[in-house]
């Protein structure tokens, strides 16, 4: 467990001139920014600005037509999401992408899939290698469950949970993978004040206790200004602001595009 040090300024992720379009519709145009190790970087912007598309590009779901991505200094070739996951990138989704047919525990265990090495034959035999590995991973998962305070629902099928808890389970699943880069797509959407406070606390703790670099899409300005180290602002697929929260807050372009009404 590394503690947060503001001196750690290695660049984890660098995006250069990323352009993405879907059959004529430009989702992202010439976006460049970077994400430093151990920081919380927020991406904000009005609806439709391209924030989710940006995350999708980072973890390989969408492939940009132009531009380069550097992950830990190395230029990244086109990759699929599974490869991104194996490189240590985990994410949550705007519309919850949990596996509705499984329990909370099983969902979080799938997050450990990249660490589990047993092939299907060891799994079929179970006794020995597979069972030991299952126990080991169960321990890790239980740590995450304790951390996010969801012990009481671990055997509940995910489909039966209220929205706020589902979001927390999704975060748990992403954390279970022990990622080095965490992408959160509107983790607090649809939550009430208490749930938001809990979620904020979790995100901060994850960042401070485990040192996980976090890229966060969020609409709630209060949250963004409070917990982010730096902010990127998108509007209509273009970058219109980039820097410390206070600088961005006072940027006239940003204000006119987005911060007209404060939450």
């Amino acid at each position: 467990m590394t503690s947060r040090t503001t001196q750690d300024k290695d660049t984890v992720l660098k995006l250069e001139n990323i352009s993405l379009s879907f059959g004529g519709v430009n989702a992202l145009t010439n976006i460049s920014f970077d994400v430093k190790e151990h920081e919380i970087r927020s991406i904000i912007g009005p609806n439709g600005a391209g924030k989710s598309s940006m995350l999708n590009v980072i973890n390989g779901v969408y492939h940009p037509q132009a531009g380069s991505i550097y992950f830990r200094g190395e230029k990244r070739k086109q990759m699929n999401p599974a490869q991104a996951a194996r490189q240590g990138i985990a994410r949550t989704f705007q519309n919850i992408a949990l596996f509705k047919g499984m329990t909370v525990l099983d969902n979080i265990m799938t997050g450990r899939n990249t660490q589990m090495k047993s092939g299907f034959i060891s799994n079929a035999i179970w006794v020995g290698k597979a069972r030991d590995e299952e126990e080991l991973n169960r321990q890790k998962v239980e740590e995450v469950i304790d951390f996010l305070e969801i012990q009481h629902i671990r055997k509940t099928p995910v489909g039966k949970l209220p929205y706020g808890l589902q979001k927390r389970v999704e975060l748990a699943r992403a954390l279970a993978a022990e990622p080095s880069l965490l992408l959160l797509d509107e983790p607090m959407a649809g939550m009430n004040v208490e749930e938001k406070q809990d979620m904020c606390r979790f995100i901060l703790e994850v960042n401070q206790q485990y040192g996980v670099t976090t890229v966060l899409i969020e609409h709630d300005m209060g949250v963004v200004m409070d917990i982010s180290d730096r902010v990127v602002v998108l509007d209509y697929g273009k970058k219109i602001g980039d820097g410390l929260p206070d600088d961005v807050k006072n940027n006239p372009e940003v204000i006119s595009a987005y911060l007209g009404t404060n939450h």
Partner: protein
């Protein structure tokens, strides 16, 4: 050469018959998103109803009307008791429910209408057209040609229905977006009942045409299976696609049946007939690998 042309023409004509069954699928899928596996059973039931009513003493024209009413009732009951209860289920569940429905109809109809093989007499014979035969030596069945004419007429009527009538517009709206249609005050249940009635009508036409060609027998129910490759080629939501797909399947199937067995026989000896049984599926499969959405279907983009 003229043998080849004969095969192709016969393939086009039999392909159109597949298109007819596929049409029923397309209608229901367009309006409700359900892939109705029971379409074949509906063709069978409609044909059985006609010959059954004739056996009960009704004249032909009355039997056809009675059969249509029967199909409409079947459609309404299906909507009420089966699909209506499965409204928010995933498509695979609905598909399996229609498999159950097809079994149910396959059992019910012979009980109501008897299960001996009986012919349907439309007054047109399955014989080559004399004049064409004498001129070119190519045999084109009168019945097949008549059927194709009916099918094309039906497709034109349906196209007109969808484009120019109020009901047609409502059907298209429902097919596009259920929620939006609801919010416009379009009564969803009535629409679906109408769609099933139209599909039932299409099944009836198919039953009459197929029945006059081969007699009314259980094999009719299996025509649903042949329609699946047609749907894959033509897309699940396209009426012209069903036609084009049907023609392609019909022609390729016949060509395969004629030209592949001799090759295999030379290589391995023995008899290699029956290619028609699997060729359309392998053909559709290969096609899917190249173009997963069919010739006319819409490309599906997964939003995350």
């Amino acid at each position: 050469m003229q043998f080849f042309i004969e095969i192709v023409i016969s393939g086009i004509l039999s392909g159109l018959m597949y298109s007819l069954v596929a049409l029923g699928f397309v209608l229901i899928f367009k309006a409700s998103g359900v892939l109705n596996f029971a379409q074949g059973a509906m063709v069978y039931s409609a044909a059985l109803a006609v010959v059954g009513f004739i056996d009960y003493g009704l004249p032909m024209w009355l039997a056809v009307i009675a059969a249509f009413i029967f199909m409409v009732i079947v459609g309404i009951c299906t909507e009420k008791f089966v699909l209506g209860k499965l409204v928010n289920q995933p498509p695979i569940t609905l598909f399996m429910a229609t498999i159950g429905l097809s079994f149910f109809l396959d059992g019910l109809s012979p009980i109501l209408f008897g299960n001996e093989v009986r012919p349907i007499d439309l007054g047109i014979v399955d014989e080559p057209i004399q004049s064409v035969m004498e001129l070119t030596g190519i045999g084109i069945s009168k019945l097949d040609l008549f059927s194709s004419g009916i099918i094309i007429l039906l497709v034109i009527l349906l196209a007109l229905l969808f484009q120019y009538t109020k009901v047609g517009r409502a059907l298209r709206a429902v097919a596009d977006d259920h929620q939006a249609a609801l919010s416009l005050g379009i009564p969803l249940e009535n629409i679906w009942a109408i769609v099933w009635a139209i599909a039932g009508f299409v099944a009836l036409v198919a039953g009459l045409l197929w029945g006059s060609r081969n007699g009314v027998q259980f094999a009719l129910s299996l025509t649903a299976l042949k329609a699946l490759p047609v749907l894959i080629l033509g897309g699940f939501t396209s009426v012209p696609g069903a036609i084009v797909g049907g023609i392609i399947i019909g022609v390729s199937e016949k060509l395969a049946e004629i030209y592949i067995p001799p090759v295999l026989q030379d290589a391995f000896g023995g008899n290699f007939g029956g290619i028609e049984g699997w060729f359309p599926y392998i053909f559709a499969l290969v096609f899917l690998l190249v173009r997963p959405e069919g010739l006319f279907g819409e490309k599906h983009i997964d939003r995350v």
